[in-house]
């Protein structure tokens, strides 16, 4: 069961990655990165059980924290008008 979950997570990570590459808008990328981060947290959890050492869940908590603060930082900085122009991301 853990194996299936791992594969599913890896597939979803690839999909998020594609969104992060293609954009086209800034917000698509931020959302993609956020989703990617969430999946990493889950992958850490699943992988821990898969290898039999789930005590490394600490790491998962920390990734979630970094993810949260990172997204806030990204949003905060693109608030600046000079920074956010209407040009399409490429």
């Amino acid at each position: 069961m853990f194996a299936t979950a791992t594969i599913a997570l890896l597939v979803i990570m690839c999909l998020a990655l594609v969104r992060a590459f293609r954009g086209p808008k800034i917000f698509d990328r931020i959302l993609a990165v956020n989703m990617f981060g969430t999946k990493t947290v889950l992958l850490i959890a699943v992988y821990g059980f898969l290898t039999g050492r789930p005590e490394f869940l600490d790491l998962g908590i920390f990734y979630a924290l970094i993810n949260f603060v990172g997204v806030i930082a990204a949003l905060k900085f693109i608030e600046r008008l000079e920074f956010y122009d209407e040009r399409e991301e490429r």
Partner: protein, 130 residues
């Protein structure tokens, strides 16, 4: 012939990790020396260094090993020494990044651009004026 292929395959399986990491390293290196935007150079430098870290950690991995924290069920542990070296190297890396980025901010303020070509052009003009 058969044994030759076996050798190639097992040789490749024993090294695919290194090869991918070398590809990553070289891509990062290319971004550093190939791009003219200073921010992108710093990103490239980080990618280059991070990939070197992966190389080190690959050196320390042992098949069937587990994280080097005492565990009752452990058969064998992976090598902790590369982990220690890389912890130090990561910290050195972020220190360099912070310094590089603050330099970029000052350069932007002084030249109003962060493209190497444009800065070079301005500097050449300045050299001639002197």
């Amino acid at each position: 012939m058969d044994s030759f292929f076996n050798e190639v395959i097992s040789g490749a399986l024993g090294r695919y990790n290194y090869w991918v990491v070398i590809f990553l390293m070289m891509s990062g290196f290319y971004v550093v020396i190939g791009s003219t935007n200073l921010v992108k150079k710093i990103v490239g430098l980080n990618i280059f260094q991070t990939s070197v870290f992966i190389l080190y950690i690959s050196i320390g991995k042992i098949n069937g090993g587990t994280a080097p924290i005492v565990w009752a069920n452990a058969e064998r542990y992976s090598n902790p020494l590369p982990h220690v070296l890389i912890l130090t190297a990561i910290v050195v890396g972020v220190a360099t990044t912070a310094l590089g980025l603050s330099l970029i901010m000052r350069i932007k303020h002084a030249y109003n651009t962060v493209e190497e070509d444009e800065i070079l052009a301005i500097s050449l003009e300045e050299d001639e004026d002197e």
